[in-house]
C-alpha cells in the first residue's frame, strides 16, 4: 500500500467540504416554498386561532428560515464543522433567550 497523499488525508477530516453545486431547480423549489410560506402566514394571521396565532406564525417563520439555511446557504451540503457551528450558534441563542425569559417570568413569583 502506498502512502496516502495530502489531499486524501484532508478528505477524511471533519472540515472536509465535498464539492457540491446545488442545481437551480432546487433553488426554484425552495423559492416557491418560501413564497407559499409567506402567503400562508398572512392568511393564518387573519384566522382566529387564540394563543396559536403567534405559535403558527413563528412555526412558519422557523420553517422558512430552516429552508433558507439548508439550501440557499448550502448548510445541507456543508462539512460537519459548518453544521456544528450553525447548530451551536442557534442552540446558544435559545439558551440565552430561555434564561432571560425564566428571569422575567419568575420576578413576581409568589407575589400574586
Amino acid at each position: 500500500m502506498s502512502e496516502p497523499t495530502q489531499n486524501e488525508v484532508l478528505d477524511t477530516e471533519p472540515t472536509h467540504h465535498s464539492e457540491h453545486i446545488v442545481s437551480p431547480k432546487v433553488y426554484g423549489v425552495i423559492f416557491g416554498a418560501l413564497l407559499l410560506g409567506t402567503a400562508i402566514t398572512v392568511i393564518a394571521s387573519y384566522l382566529e386561532l387564540g394563543i396559536f396565532n403567534p405559535i403558527v406564525a413563528l412555526a412558519i417563520a422557523c420553517i422558512k428560515a430552516v429552508l433558507v439555511i439548508l439550501f440557499f446557504m448550502h448548510v445541507k451540503y456543508s462539512s460537519r464543522l459548518t453544521k456544528l457551528t450553525v447548530a451551536a450558534g442557534f442552540f446558544t441563542f435559545i439558551v440565552l433567550i430561555t434564561m432571560s425569559m425564566t428571569d422575567y417570568i419568575s420576578r413576581a413569583w409568589g407575589l400574586w
Binding site: 433553488y27 402566514t41 433567550i97
Partner: protein, 244 residues
C-alpha cells in the same frame, strides 16, 4: 479576498500553487472551508445582535400586548407582504448568482448580482415609503409622536377599541422597537447593496470566475442571513392579531 497580492509575492519558491490559492492552505477546498467557517462565526455574532432586539420585543410584547396590537394594526400589511416577497426574490437571485459563479459563468453572475441590487433597492424604497407614512401619522417616538390615533381612533380605524391613555403611551415602545429592528435590518440591506456594487464591478472584470469564488459565496451567506432576519420581523411586527 486579496489572495492575488499575497500569493504572487516572490519569496516562496517551493511548491507551486495557483495564484488564487493562498500559500498557507493545502488545497482550494481547505481555503474555501476556512473562509466559510469564518463567515459563519461572524453571522453567529449577528444572530446574537438581532437576538437581543428580538428578546426585548418578546418581553415588551408580553407586558404591553394591547399597545402592540394597536401599533401593529397601523402598519400596511400590503407593503409588508410585498417587501417580504421582494426580499425572498432577492435571496433567490443571490443564490442563482452563487450558482453562476460556481459554474464560472461571468455574464450571468453579473446579471444575477444586478438583479439582487435592484430588488434590494426596491425593498429599501418601499421601506422609505412606510417610514414616511409613519412620520406623517405622528408615529415616530422621540421625534414626532402623538397617541391621538390610539386614544381616539379615527373613522378610518373605527373598528379599533380606543386604548386607555397609559396603554396608548406604550405604543411608543412598540414603535421604538419597530424602528430599531427594521432600521437595523435596513442598515444591513444598505451595507449589503454597497458591497454588491463593488462585487458587480469586480465580477465584470472576471475576478470570481477565473479562480475561486469564496467572496461571492460568503456574501451570499450574509444576504441570506439578512433575509432570515426579515422572515422573523415580518410576522412579529406586521401580523400581531390581525383577526381582532
Amino acid at each position: 479576498m486579496d489572495s492575488q497580492a499575497i500569493a504572487t509575492q516572490p519569496e516562496h519558491g517551493h511548491e507551486e500553487h495557483p495564484p488564487y490559492l493562498r500559500h498557507h492552505f493545502a488545497t482550494v477546498e481547505q481555503q474555501r472551508e476556512t473562509a466559510s467557517f469564518g463567515m459563519w462565526l461572524f453571522l453567529l455574532t449577528e444572530i446574537m445582535f438581532f437576538g437581543g432586539l428580538f428578546t426585548a420585543y418578546l418581553i415588551y410584547r408580553n407586558w404591553y400586548y394591547p399597545a402592540f396590537v394597536a401599533g401593529s394594526h397601523q402598519l400596511s400589511i400590503f407593503l409588508g407582504t410585498l417587501n417580504t416577497a421582494v426580499l425572498i426574490c432577492s435571496s433567490f437571485t443571490m443564490a442563482m448568482g452563487v450558482h453562476a459563479a460556481e459554474m464560472k459563468w461571468r455574464k450571468p453572475l453579473v446579471g444575477w448580482l444586478l438583479a439582487t441590487i435592484f430588488l434590494g433597492c426596491v425593498f429599501l424604497g418601499v421601506k422609505a415609503v412606510e417610514y414616511h407614512e409613519k412620520w406623517e401619522k405622528h408615529h415616530v417616538p422621540g421625534l414626532n409622536f402623538s397617541t391621538q390615533d390610539f386614544t381616539h381612533p379615527s373613522a378610518q380605524y373605527k373598528e379599533e377599541p380606543p386604548l386607555p391613555p397609559d396603554m396608548a403611551a406604550k405604543t411608543q415602545v412598540y414603535f421604538s422597537l419597530y424602528f430599531a429592528m427594521t432600521g437595523m435590518h435596513a442598515l444591513h440591506m444598505i451595507i449589503g447593496v454597497s458591497i454588491l456594487l463593488v462585487l458587480v464591478v469586480r465580477a465584470w472584470a472576471g475576478a470570481y470566475t477565473a479562480g475561486h469564488m469564496t467572496t461571492i459565496e460568503n456574501f451570499g451567506l450574509y444576504w441570506h442571513f439578512v433575509d432570515i432576519v426579515w422572515i422573523f420581523l415580518f410576522p412579529l411586527l406586521y401580523l400581531i392579531s390581525r383577526h381582532q
